[in-house]
């Protein structure tokens, strides 16, 4: 509780400073904005923009479009990445080929896939999905692989002595044993998917739907700084919420129960 209050206080202070710099705290004598509102709009202008566009449904609609892209791309990334990561953990020849490829491609920031996607797919949904999948797949693959490798071999040995065959061991021992690592991989994959989709939406403006990243792009085109900042808030919020509500609690719970937490 105390830590929460400290955080809260910090952010209130931060907004106050922002308001002060943009001339919103007239009662403190800070009535002049240090910068032009083109450069730094005041908090109330940004809030007004957000409020208007949430109420008139524009932001919720673009959120829907963005989340749909995100979920499809993320799902495909998982469906490919988790099993491939398992194969790569299990078979030397897969990890020497696919594993090395994944290592290389993961080092590539996902925005670097955008030009390639644009040439291959044009300004289409497919280009967006492709970028998201490329951003997600490799990191999910690698973290699943590392996760499976860190499953203590003693579990499989114990299962074998109790009469488990190879398939039974895989399904009832290795899979559950690697759950905390796979979830950590999924969490990382989600973060990567979110970053790649934003990069893609900023550069690829498709007619099939106006995503949140595209709002950001047009905010720049139209010189609307309040839109740029407002949308940035939304992007931060989505990333934080998914992490703090969905992934981190699941991950913490699994690591605690499995005894794999780092303490």
């Amino acid at each position: 509780m105390k830590r929460f209050l400290i955080s809260l206080l910090f952010f209130i202070l931060l907004i106050m400073v922002w308001a002060g710099c943009t001339g919103e705290l007239a009662f403190l004598g800070l009535s002049d904005s240090l910068w032009s509102p083109f450069v730094l709009p005041s908090p109330s202008v940004v809030a007004q923009y957000l409020w208007d566009n949430i109420v008139n449904g524009k932001i919720p609609l673009s959120m829907l479009i963005t989340l749909r892209r995100l979920l499809i791309g993320y799902a495909i990334g998982l469906i490919l990445g988790v099993p491939l990561g398992m194969l790569s953990a299990r078979f030397r020849c897969v990890s020497d080929t696919l594993g090395v490829l994944a290592l290389g491609l993961q080092a590539l920031p996902s925005v670097c896939w955008v030009p390639l996607a644009c040439i291959w797919f044009g300004q289409t949904e497919a280009a967006l999905l492709f970028v998201v999948i490329m951003g997600t797949l490799w990191s999910v693959l690698l973290s699943t692989q590392n996760g499976m490798r860190s499953v203590p071999p003693i579990y499989a040995r114990a299962a074998r002595t109790m009469g488990s065959g190879p398939l039974h061991t895989l399904v009832f021992v290795t899979l559950p044993a690697s759950a905390p690592f796979v979830v950590s991989g999924m969490k990382q994959g989600w973060a990567f998917a979110w970053r790649s989709l934003m990069a893609a939406e900023i550069y690829v403006s498709v007619v099939s739907g106006f995503g949140i990243g595209q709002y950001l792009h047009y905010g720049r085109e139209l010189q609307r700084m309040y839109q740029v900042i407002g949308i940035m808030f939304i992007i931060i919020l989505v990333g934080l919420l998914a992490d703090k509500i969905l992934f981190s609690p699941a991950e913490a719970w699994l690591h605690r129960r499995w005894g794999t937490d780092k303490e």
Binding site: P152, I154, T161, M162, G163, V173, P176, A177, W258, G259
Partner: protein, 268 residues
């Protein structure tokens, strides 16, 4: 149906185990290590044999070969005259680390091996699992998660898990080495109790000579580089034994000095 349960719990399968001229090398970057060198050993039905020896003398390797987790380079391990080709439900292993599955609760762990046993219904399996948890005095914790148990409790659950499928042979690799003296002493009582009631063949690996003399009806001494059996001692002390008993202390002194003899000769 009750008869069947009774029978499942009270059947006393025991087995004669023999190891004949077993050799095992491990190949590492620094060349080959001879973990076992021409080791032969016979263990009778219902015997409680303790393996003692310094670190690296091949005790675990021999145990793993008997468990079927590893294959000897030459020589044979046989149960009732049949060569061991892989792991089997007739031999349960209790590992040094607890090796319980944290995604299952206590009873789920005990059930794991039972579930692979065909001729039982799920209800009977549950009854059998409960019986063994009762035997190790863990029945109150049937639905606890593994991470909520203390080290000693985990070892007791591991014991129940390895007993539940009613194996002929119980292989225990330093199962109590990570525990404090008090807990260990209690477990000595438990394991002697189980052995007396269930009449299993038990192989128990330890570094602790006192522990070996307290538990075993025979103590087998190993020496390292290459791993060999050096000497065997029959322990005729009356049971149940207390680790602080005088005669027991005398015998373990005797064995310890024998053990020191090899290690001293080794380092010369």
């Amino acid at each position: 149906m009750h008869d069947k349960l009774e029978q499942e719990i009270n059947a006393f399968p025991t087995a004669k185990l023999s190891v004949e001229h077993v050799c095992k090398d491990f190949h590492t970057r620094n060349g080959a290590v001879r973990a076992l060198d021409d080791v032969s050993l016979t263990i009778n039905e219902g015997e409680f044999v303790c393996f003692v020896g310094p670190s690296g003398c091949g005790k675990s390797t021999l145990l793993n070969i008997i468990a079927g987790l590893e294959k000897p380079d030459s020589g044979l391990a046989l149960i009732d005259g049949v060569p061991i080709t892989g792991p089997g439900r007739d031999r349960m292993v209790m590992f040094q680390e607890h090796a319980l599955f944290p995604w299952l609760d206590v009873i789920g762990n005990v059930m794991f091996g039972l579930k692979q046993k065909p001729n039982l219904t799920d209800k009977e399996r549950l009854e059998v699992a409960k019986y063994y948890l009762f035997l190790v005095k863990m029945d109150r914790f049937a639905h606890a998660n593994i991470h909520e148990l203390s080290g000693g409790m985990r070892q007791r659950v591991a014991l129940a898990r390895s007993l539940a499928p009613n194996p002929k042979i119980l292989l225990m690799d330093e199962p109590f080495s990570a525990l404090d003296a008090m807990t260990r002493e209690r477990l000595y009582g438990d394991i002697q109790d189980v052995w007396a009631k269930r009449r299993k063949t038990i192989i128990f690996v330890t570094h602790n000579v006192r522990e070996a003399v307290c538990l075993g009806s025979r103590v087998v001494l190993f020496s390292p580089h290459p791993g060999r059996i050096r000497e065997q001692f029959a322990v005729g002390l009356e049971r149940p034994r207390n680790i602080n008993n005088h005669d027991l202390a005398d015998l373990s002194m005797q064995i310890t000095s024998a053990l020191k003899g090899y290690t001293a000769a080794e380092s010369d």
